[in-house]
Subunit: 387 residues, 2 copies
Amino acid sequence: MKTLAEAITGSIKKALNIPKEFVPLHEPCFSGNESKYLQECIDSTFVSSVGKFVNRFEKELAEYTGAKHVVLVVNGTSALHMSLLLVGVESGDEVLVPALTFVATANAVRYCGAVPHFVDSEERTLGIDPEALREYLQHSSEQRDGVCVNRSTGCPIRALIPVHIFGHPCDIDGLLAVAKDFNLNLIEDAAESLGSTYHGQHTGTFGLLGIISFNGNKTITTGGGGAILTDDPVLAKRVKHLTTTAKLSHRWEYKHDEVGYNFRMPNLNAALGCAQLEDLPELLASKRRLFRCYQEAFQDIPQVSLFEEPEGSRSNYWLQTLLLDDSVANQRDAILETTNSSGLMTRPIWKLLNKLAPFCDFPCAPVPVAESLESRIVNLPSSTGLV
Amino acid sequence: MKTLAEAITGSIKKALNIPKEFVPLHEPCFSGNESKYLQECIDSTFVSSVGKFVNRFEKELAEYTGAKHVVLVVNGTSALHMSLLLVGVESGDEVLVPALTFVATANAVRYCGAVPHFVDSEERTLGIDPEALREYLQHSSEQRDGVCVNRSTGCPIRALIPVHIFGHPCDIDGLLAVAKDFNLNLIEDAAESLGSTYHGQHTGTFGLLGIISFNGNKTITTGGGGAILTDDPVLAKRVKHLTTTAKLSHRWEYKHDEVGYNFRMPNLNAALGCAQLEDLPELLASKRRLFRCYQEAFQDIPQVSLFEEPEGSRSNYWLQTLLLDDSVANQRDAILETTNSSGLMTRPIWKLLNKLAPFCDFPCAPVPVAESLESRIVNLPSSTGLV
């Protein structure tokens, strides 16, 4: 009799129907103008922070997402860092982030000298649960002169960063309402959700600022890279200034009016992004096909289900997620062991951030759903072009 | 009768002997394997933070510079930031930096919550003057339990960052002696000096840590990029850990043991670096030829001189620097105006950092030499391949 881990390994192989010896969790797909645009960079000698591909990628991302302004930066983490500075997060502040997300979200808060304050997720979206958050803030915070203050620590809770986990849009309407009612700046971490929409509107465009990542493991990549989205022209101008060493425009003078950063995306990386963006519709279609194939392949294993996009949303299906029933959560590591030993790269979801050494002393709401999800998620090989 | 500005414009044109309408201050030169290696990245799909070019560029930079360990990062600024964290610079500390350098050196200090403490330069090297620094520290600091403390502020002075300005090695022996005598960690900012040696040893390898920049305006470029050099295996391991989100190695677990950064150089950018490094000897020879051409072209203008590598050093001549005599310092802006209007991109040296808004309240030694140099320097078009 087959174990659950063996059955799951078989189903993955059935879905993929490929004889590869090793299938990574996610690899990029370059089938368009990538080489051509890189060559144009070399020919023009513009490979660094100024160049036509930087401008073009910003313009095309704005058109694609519907954001009024896009500013390209070196990666998603620096995009979050800059966004937090832009909304005025300072040393000693607190920022609400999901316990269940990639570590970059909490790291960016620390770069500002602020403290991440962890909250729970909901199983329906994998993102922050707005109702649990509202209830938690009602008893653990109070408003002082229009600022949300943590009753226990006495520190201002300055911002809220929902994350669209694995590309699935969270309940952004619910979270915007909480942010409004509690005077929180909402920064949308859409690092994983390029191509995902919520009620037809692109993720990353609901908050005051939103961020996208183009790391090598994302749906499209620039090698390393990120973007900040905003509809606010003042914020857009300021983030461009801040990420280019805060240098004032002058024919020759080197005058900088604040502590700036060297976070602009190089033209070389933007060239790759322009080519990748052209292919995005096909890449998204491929990811949706893969979801259907996995769904079919797993239909005979009743203890597991494939995570499906939340109602009202259209997901990019960046990563394909297998959700184990409570009854078989104790077999998660056996499943990871068997699949990885078979050359199928699978991964758990991240360890809860509130349990990691650098964050375990910071404020944390009760996170029962995040704890349950942490124990029951196995991500499957998710590259485009697999089916 | 020609003005000085017109004479200088004529001399630049004579040196370059090219009919170009616009000559930039510094543009990169791609004449080797750049396209080939970029294509290899695309073919392999490894464009992000892991890949053969990252490993190769680190290995070849170590061989070239003689550093035991090299760790690639996204840019020179982040290399400085990480180096400061590695030597234990913390909020409230002070770090000695030249008043006369690019703003990134001081910004990196601020990222750690520390404060730049500005010191003077010497005309012989353009770098920090060791004798002036020693004298200044003798009366303005004291040792408390082996820590150098600023007598006025009461704050620890934790580190010293000499910069090899425009590629010219500073008096590193003199500065190492000061650092030893006053218990300062020496971090060598070799951002501009790849290819420059001091008594035959490569710059960036004298301090506990050294950094190099591969920004688009440098002798060789990766688009955006930087490197940290060190002979200390423990520091090298830690900086690699810190720049890759401080993730602990595990078959599948996402466990991070400290607040980490996303600062690793992408393989795509490292590919460009590998090709550029192959061409470095020829690029350096070209820069030396340009120096000789300028020197000859300016020999008939007695009020100006071309800055020449300090004795005992071999400079990469990254930028070609015209030094005006005191008597004509008041014509610096006219020279900048006339040359730039003639399509010859020239630039002054940076404004002194102690005068900029974000730094003007921080500790500053008397900086008479830096002030004089600031008023008398005009950098000339310096690209490789001009002659």
